[in-house]
Structures are given as C-alpha cells and as structure tokens.
C-alpha cells in the first residue's frame, strides 16, 4: 500500500502544482492573445503608414525583381493601377539602368544592406521622372526582399536646372561683356542713404569694396585676372584727387543712386590714367545702400584719337600756312626773276644781233679792198643794225666836196641834186658833220629842216637823220648818213655802235684807197699799209675785248637762265608734292571723321559728335584751300587746260545753287534765279561751276538778310557791254523780272556769242577804294564779317584767273557799301569757236 498510495500531503502538493500550471497556462494564453492583438494593431498601423506614405514604397523580390507589394503613391506616381503595377518588375519602370545593371545594383544593395541613389523612372505614358531612391534589404520568411522608398524630385530638378542656367547666363554675360562690369559691396553691410551727400561720398571711399568683376574690368585696369582686383577699395581705382571722380559719385548719390554714361579718370596698375564712360546702379533697401553694380567702357582710345586728330589737324593747318607763305614768296621771287630774265633775254638778243653785225662789218672791211664793194656792204649792215630804211655814204673829194658813193631809198631828185651839185664841206647836214668831225643826230623833223639847206632834201619828209664822219688819222674820209621817213626812232646804243664801227670803215676805206694808190706807188704803200694794219689790229683788239666781255655777260645770263628753269621746276615739284603730301592724309582725316560721324563705328555722345563735326568742317575747309592754291599755281604755270564739253547753263546753275542750298537756308536768305531759256554752252563745265559756287558762296558770306540773285543773259557785242556795265550801275538790279533776250541784240540776225552771268547780293558791299584789292591773292578786305567768315583770300583771285585765263572771259565787280555787290562774268559760249565753226 505504501508504494502505490500517495499521501494526502503529496496529493495536495500535486493539486497545487496543477493549479499553478493551469494558472500559468491561462496567463500564457492571455499573453499570447494580447501579443497577437498588439501585433495585429501594429500591422494595421504599419500598413496604413505604408499605404499612405507621401513617398512611393515598393517591396520587391530580390531574386526576380517582381513587385510583391506597392503602395498607392508608388503606382499612382508611375501612372498604373495597383493590379497593373503588381505585375511589373523593376526593369519595366527603371529608365536609366539596363536589366543587367539592375541585377548588379540589386546584388549590391543585398551585399551592403542598403543604398541611396538618384535615377529616372518611366511612367506608364512614357514620361521620364527624376526620383530619389532609398533601398534596403530585409529577410522575410527566408526570402530575400528589399523595399525601396522613392521620392519624385522632377520639379525640384527642373528648378535647380533653371537656376543653374540663369546663373550660367549671368556669368557668361559678365564674362563676355565688352563692358567692364563690377559689383561693389559696402564693407560693414550697409549705410544709410539719408546721410548727407558728402558723408555718403566718405562712406563710399572708406567702405565700398569690389566683390566681383569681369576680365575686361581687370584688363582695363592693367590686371591679368578678375580675382586680383576683388577686395579693392574704390579709392584705388577712382582716385579722389580727380575732381571728375568725386563729382561723379556726387551725381550718383544725388541722382537717386544711379547714373549712366559719365566720364571718369581711373587709375591703372602702372599708375597711368585712363578715361572711362561709367554707369552705376545702386541697390537701396529701406534707405540702406546694400550694393552697387557698375559697368564701364574704356574711351581712352577715342580720347587719344580725338586728341591725335586735333593735333594732326592743327599741324596740317600750320604746315599749310607755312607752305602757303613759302609758295607766295617763291611766287613773288619767281615773278621777279622771270621779269629780269625776260629783260636779260631781250638784251642778249639785241647784243647778239649787234655782235653779228659788227662781226659782219669787220669781216667786210678785213677782206675787201675794193672801196665800192666795201661801202655797199657796210651800208646794208648799218641799215640792218639800226633798223631804218634810208641811207647814203658820201666820200670827201680832194676839192673839199662830198661825192655820193652809195645810197638807199633816196629819191631820184636828191640823187640828181647831190651828183650834179656836190655838197661842200660845212654845208648842209653831211657837210657840217664832215667839217666838225662829229656825228650829227637829228631826231625830229624840225631839227632836220633846221640843218638841211638843200631844197631836194628838204622835200624828202625825213623825220630822223644821223650823219657819222668816217675819220682815220685825223682826216675825215666821208660821211655815213642814215635816215627814215617813218616815225621810228633807233636805239641810242645802236647809234653808239655805228659810231664805233665808223673808224673801222674809215680804216678800210683808207686801206682801199691806199691799195689803189699803191698800184702807182707800192713802196710808199707797203709802209702805209703796215702802219694802217697795226692801227686796224689795235682797233680790232679793242673790239675783240668788247666781244669777249659780251660773251662773258652772255654766259652769266645763260647760267641765270638755267637757275630760273631749275626754280620753275622746283616750284612744279613743290606743288605736286604738296598736292600729294597734304591731300592724302587730309582725305583720310575727312573720310574717317565721316565714318565716325555716321556712327558706323559705334555711337557717340553729343559732345563727341559736335567735336568731330568741327574736325570735319575744318578738314574740308583746309582741303578747299589746298585745292585753290594748287589750281592757282597750275593756272600761273600755264598747266591747266580747259576741258570743253557741251552742257546747259541751267544744269550748272542748278548744281551751284544746290551746293549752297543749306547755307542759304541757314541764314534765312532768298535765292532768285533768272535765266534766259535754253542756253547751251560749250566750255569747261567744272570750272564754270567752280566760279559760280565761289561767287554764290561770297554773296552768302557777306549778306545777312535779303536776296541773292543769280541772273544771266545772252550778249553778242562784248565791248559795248563792258562800257555799258561800267557806266550804268543799275543795269542789273536784283529781283525777278523777265530778261530780254539780250537787250540791243534782240534781232535774231545778230549772233549771240557771249553769256553774261551775274550774282547780286544785298550784303555789306565794298568801299570804292577797296575795289582794286578784290581780285588780288591772299587779300581779305577789312570788314566786321571778316572774323566770322572763314576764307582764304583766294576765292575771287582764283575765280578771276579761271574766268580770264581758262574761260577766256572777263569779270567785273560793282558795289555800293551798305546796299550790295554784283559780280558779273562774261564768257564766250563757245570756248573752241574757231575749231567748231
């Protein structure tokens, strides 16, 4: 019984154990139920969380990539329904990676446990979206799964891109801008814009520093990179010493913290000052100046160019003035030299002629020993040298009478008288001369009559008579007479020359006579001949010396001639070189100024435009001046030929009026034109136009109000017109009235050969005493308008030269002070009339 039976105590114990176990079991069941409930609650919570997450959440089988579960956000974002999406794998919506890459990527996530990356997803409609993905692997029931949470960041990305592009555009703009751009910031944040201007200027100088700038800015200040200039204070670039800079900042502040296109003088790294055109824009918030944007353009080159242009222009003007003075002096000298040369040439011609005659006479008297032959030839040479027609040579006979040996242009009556009743020594003209051994020269008819005692001779109407004794060895051998019935008077020097050769003639006569005598008495002859020959030689030597002297003079004259030719050539060279040297650079100045003014090289400020226009005007003036000087020189050198062509008067008048149109309108003057119908001219159109422009331009210059009248009319009797012009000053009056077809020659039978063109003004006029100065070169009359009107003093001089020397016409000026002036050209209509008719 002891073995199989349990004690009561034992039983109670067992029961107690059972009860305890029961309680434990009950407890455990409750716990389990509680745990189960908690789990269910948690699951529901997480599921809600999972479903309602703003991010897409996908649970994926790591092995197959198949979707196990996806929340609404996930499939909505990708444009699918939940069912559709569950059927997809990662590669269906991943838009960046290939399936192989997806496989690798998954393996990587499994290996590392998690990953965090950006990729692109393709929606059902094919749209590509930027997403950020967080992926993590999990082990569920022995399966490798991973879930990925993704966020759509497309909008964010787009904004980011837009911002980046905008930033890039800004950088590119600043970097590539041809303007220097910079940003100034105030060192201690900001300052108050209600402070006084001076205080603000102080603040700017002490606090504004460069934060940013571009390459152009750095380079324009002599630095290589923009970074080198960051941190500069504005005093380092806009020195306060330059008043312009302070004024500029003042204007910036007073203008409401912005300003544009103001010139500043700024410092470069090497200390040089450069000119800039500056603009500043300040950013003001709540009366605080926060920062300032600046832009500027370097204009030092333009400034330099302007200065260089001005300098070149001044230099040119100086050179032209100097050259013009040189030219004027050279011209004066040349004119003088030419005059001297002409005189010298005339003299040389005369001397040569005389020398030839003297030589002839000497040749005659040296060769011939026949008295009559000698006298015949001597007579001809003497008449030739003295330029008269009549003459005689009488020889003294032993009975003291004069025997007529040779005569020229002597009347039969006189010849008869002289041969039948010989003149006695001391009687009549020749006799007196033979008696006194002196030349007797009678220059007037009255004087001839006074000395002439013979009836036949008195009737001859001799108006000049010269008688020369032929003297040798103190004896008079004969008389040479030269006379004329004309009013011609021979040159004194020729008379002297004749007187000189008379001794030669006398010796020759004596020799001839002795030769003839020697036929009878040769012994005496030889001595006498020898004596006379010595005398002749001496006399000849004297003459030869004279000839030598003349030759020397002639040589000097030839040298002077050569020098003058050189001078003339030099003048031509000078004009040619002046034409090229001055004109070529001047043309460049005018051309490039024109380009700048047209704005072809970029915009200009008003001030620059004004200054350049002054350069252009002065350049054009200078060019006109040079052209005038060259024209005058050419005309003076006879190198300008008229270029004849046919054209209508109206066309050339229109051109002239068009050239002055602007100036006439500017001064508020009226221009009236009155021309006869259908006038055709055949002359130099260009030169006529030049004359008309000069005259019109003068009229405009010296007229302050009223009318300028350009009129013309046909005329044929040139001489008549000139006198009419000079007598009747009111003949051409300003005003429009029909012009008669040439006044007195209105009958069509008279040919109209000339055209008269007048330019009349109602200007200040010219004083009578000044009229003769009008057409001289480099002369400008004193007048209150002289200073105001630029002029060369060449215009009228040139116009007259062209009119007279090229157009073969004439020019007249008439004027009354205070009433007006009229300048009139009269030129042939047909310049080459001879050739054309």
């Amino acid at each position: 019984m002891n073995d199989n039976r349990k004690t009561k105590k034992q039983l109670i114990q067992e029961l107690e154990n059972l009860r305890r176990r029961m309680a434990e079991l009950e407890q455990s069941e409750t716990d389990r139920q509680r745990a189960e409930e908690a789990y269910r609650n948690a699951e529901a919570r997480y599921y809600t969380l999972f479903q309602q997450s703003p991010n897409g959440v996908i649970l994926v089988d790591a092995k197959t990539g198949e979707t196990i579960e996806a929340n609404e956000t996930a499939y909505r974002q990708l444009g699918y329904t939940g069912e559709e999406f569950t059927a997809l794998t990662v590669k269906d919506y991943e838009a960046v990676e290939t399936p192989e890459e997806i496989e690798k990527h998954i393996q990587k996530v499994i290996h590392h446990g998690s990953d965090n990356f950006e990729t692109l997803h393709r929606t059902k409609s094919g749209e590509i979206r930027n997403v950020h993905v967080w992926a993590k692997t999990v082990q569920i029931a022995g399966h490798s799964l991973f879930y990925s949470i993704f966020q759509d960041i497309t909008e964010h990305k787009q904004q980011e891109e837009a911002l980046r592009l905008s930033e890039e555009r800004y950088r590119t703009f600043v970097k590539q801008s041809s303007e220097a751009i910079y940003l100034l910031e105030i060192e201690h944040a900001t300052f108050d814009t209600t402070l006084s201007t001076d205080e603000q200027i102080d603040r700017l100088y002490s606090q504004a520093i460069i934060r940013e700038c571009n390459q152009i800015f750095a380079i324009s200040h002599g630095y290589g990179r923009p970074e080198e200039m960051v941190g500069f204070r504005i005093g380092q670039i806009f020195p306060r010493l330059a008043r312009e800079n302070v004024d500029y900042l003042r204007a910036f502040i007073e203008n409401g913290h912005h300003i544009s296109d103001v010139e500043t003088k700024e410092l470069s790294r090497d200390g040089t000052v450069k000119h800039f055109l500056n603009s500043l824009v300040g950013q003001v918030e709540n009366n605080r100046l926060v920062r300032i944007w600046g832009g500027k353009q370097e204009i030092s080159r333009i400034k330099q160019a302007e200065e260089a242009l001005k300098k070149a222009h001044d230099e040119l003007e100086q050179r032209v003035t100097a050259r013009m003075e040189e030219l004027r002096q050279a011209n004066e000298k040349l004119q003088k030299d030419i005059k001297a040369r002409k005189q010298a040439e005339e003299e040389i011609g005369i001397i040569n002629e005389e020398l030839r005659t003297v030589n002839n006479i000497i040749a005659i008297v040296s060769k011939d020993l026949n008295v009559l032959e000698i006298l015949e030839k001597v007579m001809d040479e003497a008449l030739h040298i003295i330029g008269l027609e009549g003459g005689t040579i009488c020889l003294v006979t032993p009975d003291e009478t004069l025997d007529l040996a040779v005569h020229r242009e002597t009347s039969e009556a006189t010849i008869l008288d002289l041969t039948t009743n010989r003149i006695k020594i001391g009687d009549c003209l020749c006799g007196e001369c033979a008696r006194d051994h002196k030349p007797l020269i009678l220059r007037e008819r009255e004087a001839v009559l006074k000395f002439s005692s013979r009836e036949a001779e008195r009737r001859e109407d001799i108006r000049f008579h010269a008688a020369f004794p032929l003297i040798t060895g103190g004896r008079c051998l004969g008389v040479l007479c030269l006379f004329t019935r004309t009013n011609q008077k021979p040159l004194e020097r020729r008379l002297k020359l004749i007187e000189t050769v008379t001794s030669q003639i006398a010796i020759a006569l004596e020799n001839a006579r002795l030769y003839e005598e020697a036929i009878h008495d040769s012994a005496i002859l030889e001595d006498k001949v020898r004596e006379r020959t010595t005398e002749l030689e001496n006399s000849q030597n004297g003459l030869l010396t004279l000839i030598e002297d003349m030759k020397v003079t002639s040589g000097e004259l030839e040298k002077a001639n050569l020098r003058l030719q050189e001078l003339d050539h030099l003048k031509s060279m000078f004009i040619a070189s002046m034409s090229h040297e001055l004109r070529t650079p001047l043309n460049s100045i005018i051309g490039f100024t024109g380009i700048l003014l047209m704005g072809l090289s970029g915009g200009l400020t008003d001030e620059q435009q004004d200054q350049l226009r002054r350069v252009q005007t002065s350049g054009k003036h200078l060019l006109a001046l040079i052209t005038d000087v060259i024209d005058i020189s050419k005309i003076e050198a006879g190198k300008l030929q008229a270029q004849v062509s046919e054209f209508s008067l109206a066309s050339v008048v229109d051109q002239a009026a068009a050239a002055l149109k602007v100036e006439i309108a500017r001064k508020g003057l009226d221009l009236e034109i009155a021309l006869p119908a259908e006038v055709n001219l055949n002359t130099d159109q260009r030169r006529l136009l030049q004359c008309l422009i000069n005259l019109l331009s003068n009229a405009v210059k010296y007229t302050e109000q009223g009318t300028i009248c350009l009129s013309a009319r046909n005329i044929s009797d040139f001489g008549f017109r000139i006198s009419e012009l000079e007598e009747n000053n009111s003949e051409i009056s300003p005003g429009r009235r029909p012009l008669r077809a040439g006044g007195h020659n209105s009958q069509s039978t008279i040919k109209q050969d000339f055209i008269e063109i007048s330019v009349a003004d109602t200007g200040i006029g010219i004083r009578e005493e000044d009229l003769p100065l009008l057409f001289t070169s480099f002369t400008r009359l004193e007048s209150p308008l002289k200073m105001r009107n630029p002029g060369t003093g060449l215009g009228l001089y040139l116009t007259k030269k062209i009119t007279v020397e090229l157009l073969e016409g004439t020019m007249v000026a008439r004027s009354r002070p205070g009433v007006g002036s009229t300048f009139t050209l009269i030129i042939p209509k047909n310049l080459n009339q001879g050739e054309i008719q």
């Binding site: 004109r583 043309n587 460049s588 005018i590 024109g594 380009i595 047209m598 072809l600 052209t627 260009r686």
Partner: protein, 123 residues
Amino acid sequence: MKRVLVIEDNENNLKLITFILEKHGYETLEAVSGREGINLALKEQPDFILLDIQLPDMDGLEVLKAIRASEVDGNLPVIAITSYAMSGDRQRLMAAGCNGYIEKPIDPVTVMDEIEKILKELL
C-alpha cells in the same frame, strides 16, 4: 553677297573704302598694287572692281587694259577712283573703258550711292 575688289595703294584709303563697303554688306578683296590687283581680278572673279588710278607700280589705265584683255565679254564693272586734281585723266579713263568714277576725297555719306548708281546704270 557681292564681292568687290579694291585696288588702292594708300592704306588709309583702302581701309576707309573697304570699311564702308563691308558696312553696306559687301565682301571685299584688297590689292595694294596694280600687279596684285590684276592677279586677284583674274583669280577671284569679283562682281566689280574699284581701281585707284594712281598706283605705285603701274598706270591705272594699264591695269584696266590688262583686266579687259583677259575678259571674254568685257563687262566686268570697273569704277575708277580719281583725284579732283586729275580732271584730265577722267576722260582718258572713260575712253579706255572704265564704267564710271568716284572722286577723292571719298565722302562716306554719299560714296555708296555713287557706286550703286554706276552699277545700276550698267544693268
């Protein structure tokens, strides 16, 4: 774009005229001597030529003759650039076959009108 050959020895004038032409939409070829001008005219076949008649190496007339001699039909427009002072040369050049002339100093405001007027008259 029309191509212009400018034959001009003065560098400033050359720059001036080519600048104006380019601003008006022409393409320019440059020659600074007569010889170079002839070579370029033959090689490049420009639409027209601006020819300075005062060249350092040869007379403008010779340049014109050489260009005309190489043409089949002789209708390449050649516009002479002449100086005001050289009025005698103009008739000579027109007689020798120039199609027109413009005068120095070149006026930037009017020069293109002058050139275009000459070209228009040739059409």
